[in-house]
Amino acid sequence: MNDLADALQSDRATATGTARRWLAFASARRFDPLAGRLAPWFFAAALLLLAAGLYVGFRVAPTDAQQGEVYRIIFIHVPAAWMSMFIYLVMAGYSALALVFHTRLSSMMASALAPTGALFTVIALASGALWGQPTWGTWWVWDARLTSELILLFLYLGYMALEAAIDEPRRAERACALLALVGSLNVPVIYFSVQWWNTLHQGASVSFTTAPSMAATMLAGMLLMTLASWMYTIAVALVRVRCILRERGVLAPTDGSRSGSWAG
């Protein structure tokens, strides 16, 4: 019995140690220099993946049999649309952490992601319109996929407007966290809209359950562009969090910036 108790105690101590190590990064003073060191690497990875994605998308991937060359908009449209949904879910995750554990850094991460999420939503909508005109004959239709994506843009804009409208940062963080959590219900609506309703927008070419209905090189180009967008988002969010930490007075302007560089 004593052995079992010792083993349990040892396991609990290990788990506590691991949790404590992770929680240490919720400290601004620990997180800031790490973010400064990591951001340039994420920017570099984004550039490399972007170059690879553009090369595969424009030089390797074949012409589409039905749509011709205009289908190549897929290499910016789909990654942007995926990122717009994914970033909102990550924001909701950080918001939940902030509400449960009262970690301010989580709120700041959510806040840092919002502008980039909004930007990817605009890119998804604009590139979708530019793809829709030559293939559907119209820039816009009020179908479920397009409308729910537009609502996502309003959610991002609402999040940023709400944050800017409340002077007291803690109250703003709480209100925004609630908006992010409630708004995340829209993400599955966007994703499944093409199955739940009869839409002009085509169904998913790539899903978790079925094999992709596109050429392997097209899929590779799309995935490379998505990874590039992902790396870009992380890099930008890290730099933006460093700005927020200083704007809210958590860190002094010169803290952690040995060279004074925005990402170093």
């Binding site: 011709g68 060359e69 590139s127 530019l130 730099v239 460093r242 010169t254 910036s257 925005w262």
Partner: protein, 46 residues
């Protein structure tokens, strides 16, 4: 340059160029804006 001629054929190259152009312009603007924000909060350091 054959691939460029190939991609430009079909009469829809302007749509593809506009889609990528808008995306890169927006992301570039975000980086420039973020750089200015960092300069402002870090006491004018580049």
């Amino acid at each position: 340059m054959g691939w460029l001629t190939q991609i430009s054929s079909g009469g829809h190259a302007a749509y593809v160029a506009a889609a990528f152009g808008i995306a890169f312009a927006l992301l570039g603007a975000e980086i420039l804006w973020l750089r200015r924000r960092w300069r402002a909060v870090s006491g004018g350091n580049p």
